[in-house]
Symmetry: D3
Subunit: 295 residues, 6 copies
């Protein structure tokens, strides 16, 4: 098995640790996996491709190195504020530093830039296959945006999380404020607390407040192991069922129950004719493990 048509990548390792399971690793550990320009392009290319690749049924997303999933506060002299590499940002041609003097034109440029960055994170959320973010070490700023766009979040004991954007003078804008209420259940007192204050929080606090669903005992290797087990389990199920469930659950947010029920019926009128239903039912009766065609 090999992934199709994926471009050569400089900042991500994409591997296949088990059948139908892909592991995407952010690979810029020397900068705490902080993002800069070309990394956004690569990230979108990866997830656009995995979304449709029939050899993929579950995706793990993690950060290389011991210290961070992504981003991180000042460490040494170089800082990687909020998951954006500040040094690189300073050199680049960012809208914030352009010579455009008129505030309305600057606003128009900023809006385009934000929409483009959001679209990258949305490519993760839109990916048809289930995604599990495996968090360890610094998971700051963009780390929250990115993992909120995944389906599940597991973390290692040592994870340090932070909705960091307020500390750099801005309201988080590539997804955290839109997706956090969805993935933790509402605009709770805790959501306001961590978003307005930019204070760090621990793995246990993340678990208690439903941001992650598991805190894995031990370090990063145990985390990867548990992530892989779950991914393999998901990959063993009917891909029609799993991917349909993901689509319908995500479509439910911000909509009424009646809307969602109708959407579910329309989705399933196309999907219940799947050969997977017969295969799954029969295997259930025969106590066999079913196999399913690619999707």
């Amino acid at each position: 098995m090999a992934l199709r048509t994926l471009p050569s990548l400089k900042f991500f390792n994409v591997t296949i640790p088990a059948q139908y399971v892909v592991h995407v690793e952010i690979n810029r550990p020397e900068k705490l996996n902080a993002f800069y320009g070309p990394m956004w392009v690569e990230l979108k290319a990866i997830f656009d491709q995995l979304s449709h690749d029939p050899d993929v049924r579950a995706i793990l997303l993690s950060g290389a190195g011991d210290r961070a999933f992504t981003a991180g506060e000042m460490i040494n002299l170089t800082s990687c504020l909020s998951g954006l590499d500040v040094e690189q940002a300073a050199k680049s041609n960012s809208p914030l530093s352009t010579g455009v003097p008129d505030p309305s034109r600057k606003a128009a440029l900023l809006r385009r830039h934000i929409l483009e960055l959001q679209d990258v994170i949305t490519s993760v959320a839109r990916c048809e296959k289930p995604t599990i973010a495996l968090l360890h070490g610094y998971t700051y700023g963009l780390g929250i945006d990115l993992s909120s766009a995944c389906d599940m979040r597991f973390c290692a004991k040592d994870t340090k999380l932070c909705v960091k954007e307020v500390d750099i003078g801005l309201a988080a804008d590539v997804g955290t404020l839109s997706r956090l209420p969805k993935v933790v259940g509402g605009v709770t007192s805790w959501v306001k607390d961590v978003c307005l204050s930019a204070r760090p929080f621990s793995a246990d606090e993340a678990l208690k407040n439903n941001f992650v669903s598991r805190v894995v005992d031990g370090g990063k290797s145990e985390l990867l192991k548990e992530g892989l087990e779950t991914a393999k389990y998901l990959a063993s199920k009917s891909p029609v069922a799993v991917q349909g469930t993901k689509n319908i659950l995500d479509a439910s947010w911000g909509r009424t129950i009646d809307d969602n029920l109708n959407y579910t019926a329309v989705w399933n009128m196309g999907m219940l004719q799947s050969s997977d239903v017969q295969r799954a039912m029969l295997s259930g009766l025969q106590k066999r493990t079913p196999t399913f065609e690619k999707l």
Copy 2:
């Protein structure tokens, strides 16, 4: 007191354990209370009637026998996958097995069929009176759809829960995916975990993740007792207040705060003229237990 106009029932026991309290028991214990055709018809008839019956102020919903609320995985040779009785399904004239060869026509039939089944579950959700699902043993597949449509969920220690549909090759389609985010608070990492994987979870996990609000120590009899106490308590309150609260809370989902505030004002302009307000206030001042007219 006697319930009005309820048809004779074959698969449900409907009793009146206390004034204004009705107990609906799914009664097919030899098949783990798995549903098949005629049971759907009975279920809707029951809840449509209880919704308007002035002698009803609170409803308990439970499953007969020691082993299941409803549904259940393979046990012995007969399986009751996902709350649907597979044997019965095979014999019946289900859209999945019809001879309709054209996929679009099959899709149209499936959609009608799903909408009909959804409508049965919605008759539980739409019931004007508060409903409490009392879960024990196997609460699989349809057990989640059904209890998600109730207002509260209590469970016994031994309850084994599962969003089972992925295991039979489909995305849950009669309500779970629409209502679970509403009743547990969002499309959390845990919701994705249990819905995408179809893995079973325990009573304690259900409590921790807000699917149930109580795990009752002891077995089914303790569960029924605690359910009955709560139902009696609700039945002692103003039915205008209780049923209005239910309606407004359910209407809030998927809508903005402004929408909800206006809806509340419009609801209450009709309801605050109730004699219950005077009765309740006066009883409060006089430290008496108020009684309220039927509704």
Copy 3:
């Protein structure tokens, strides 16, 4: 520093315990801080003013005296049901007691009255500055409406909470039923439980179910101290970032992710040009505490 243009107040103490931090104290302790007519007018005036006052960056809301945040059940002979002072209500010219005989005209008057009261609570929710409700003692009825409109809720160990309205024959109508699902995450089994039954619940239950994000060990003074620390922390951050984060988070409820992402981009196209971004980034690199212009 002094607050601008605030009218003289009879029922609220408004103080400035630290730079940019305002403390609003409900001050009618002899009636358990229960509300009546003129208090609503004062409350709105306060929050409308604080919302725009450039010397304000964080707001604490608490109740005077040892016994209540606001409202409270029967105590002694005078009762303060549901946060409304019943004695005062009886004397006043409330729509419920007017001589209007026609039910539709009574309904029209009631609607106007509810909309006016809702609008007062909404002035708290609409306040541009972050607000922290500090709850102790009786926090009944209006206490829930009011604190649900704040951004965060902390409470003392001894807090007794209750969605009391059902006990006076009505569905809560000035905000609780609209905002509770937002701030605790969904229409959970627990939300239905406490709203339909009007049963009191403890600080720990409020924490477990996400209504408050902290239960402070000790009594009211420890609570105030912890509230002040948090408020000072928030006040030290960029007001552009903090207030933008609040606005975007609140706008997210009842809307789809796509809507929210676009709204965030449009908000930030105007706000990312802030001098706060440079100040915050530079301070980060220089390990200094930034200062920000007023807003």
Copy 4:
């Protein structure tokens, strides 16, 4: 060809004027086709059945006799205000005349009653097959509710239309106020004019303001003829395409473009596999008239 399982009807004539075309005629001409109790039951039964009957591809709805589609103002001594037969209403056990003294309980009964009547009209709107209302003579009150729930409206020159409800002291409540903005395009000055004033309007005014799409020259027989031609034309097309188009167009109202595009894609993923596509394309190339399987 014969319709399946339709009950014997007293107030409606249901005929089959051409293959796949059904004509439903309201048949109480001596009362200007005004509705009363049993007619609502029959109407819902008819449309629920036609919706799923594979021998039906287009439906005409008209009124018997020369004088009215339905309803009508005072004529002679008997009046048929707003499409409801006032005489019958007076005799019946309507919620308005019941002895329930408590306004909140009366409100609850009224709401159930309105929802039931709305549900009958909605059975017309929900019908999967295209429906054409053929209006002539008095088309007052319920005549507007009913025809707004159809897909198209044609009328004869002599049609007199009126949103009559304000004249009997109420805001129209079984559909007009919800569906009129949808079928004429917005809450226009004209919509407000005719709804707030209850003034009658002519066929030409109805055409100019998009309520009807054709005014047929001549009387009722020409109208029926033109309606039949259109129905036959619709019935000659792919039923999968026609019924899908209806569903998607109706789902579009009150939703954003993005929502609608996604819904369309999900609908068509199930429907584009239709044999109708090949048949239609091939017939197009071969300049033949295609035939399609039943749906």
Copy 5:
């Protein structure tokens, strides 16, 4: 009959040309009725008061003098661009001219200012009583915002209309872009044409495109006469029915049919108990003109 509690007004004439009918005249004809600061305050005060005044059942809104409803392009040397008096604006302390240098703080001030102006126009839209805008002469910029917030729009032959804002470098922001699609039916080619180009259009073009529902032959006096006739007609109807119809129609925009039907049922459960229903029905049967209690 006299209006209650209306403050003394400098820029508006408020008269009572017939029972239950109020005429509000914008009175700054020497400046083409262009608005500046104090006029906004007066306008809101007037409509807030009329909304609840039981002696008011219909409202006419027009402009004093021969030349304009409000606003107007350059005429002579003084210009009144877009309904805002530019001379006054220059002298005033507008957010656009303040010394606030930071773009984000300027943005925050602008947002507050826009929300305040919008709120004034919304007080017209929110007025519970039906409103008719009578347009003549220049109806530019604010003239469109203001009249779009009314229920009906009639105009004289000589009316010159223009969505003028693009000509002063901005997207219309106090209501036109939100309300125009609602009152003309969608974001039509014509709406885009006149909004993007700021080109003037005639009374006949306004009629053809549904912005006004009548073009009155003759000049302003004929217009006022026809407006008064319509207002008197509306004022003769049940105020419960008329005001309920207005509320439900306005609530329908941007919502699904199901939402609207339910809202209608909830509104009417409180309103159908009106004495107006009996009075109207009885008068209908007895061919008398009914009279209704104040609202």
Copy 6:
């Protein structure tokens, strides 16, 4: 002036007929400008680029040759059903003809394919600059999808329009059913008529029903001339104002007035600081034609 970074195009002519005005011409006249595979890619590339190009302020979209805007019914032996070139479709690897046997997998492929095609049309709708579709001759199927995504539609006398999809067995799926109700104002009787029947309609019928806002006397050259005049007029206005107006109007659809007003305020808080406002106001006072910076 030259357009930036546009790829070399095979099926479209992109020219600059006047300053800031771009003319995009569909250029496959020998096939009635019917689309096939590579044309979709080019179309998206063009509009993505023009959307951000600061030298573009208005866009004209037309079809090459005398016979069609795009698409066309059978003519000669080759057919171009519904804007899709059937011959090309047959040769290509379309999801409809793939060997995928499982209906659910086919559905998944179809959904991806539809979403991709929709996304191309959406790139036209999303383009930040105003777009005018100039229709002549056959404007069938895709011609409606495409022109509905433009801001304005003008057409020549001879234009023949048709929502053709029903004739090829499918519900229109790349935008017509989502955008037609928006651009003509609701799901009118006429919309249902032309969409359910696939009957052709004339330029005059398109004008009467608000699909186009102008029918130009004369043929294609007069049409192009009038389109160019309008485009030049739009291009002379403030681009900040014009593009903001477009964005806000499009955002209004499917949303409530309150939502739209708030969105407008947030948009304008960033945009009102434009130098265009001063330039436009000053030019107005000085009776000069303003010039504006690029955007």
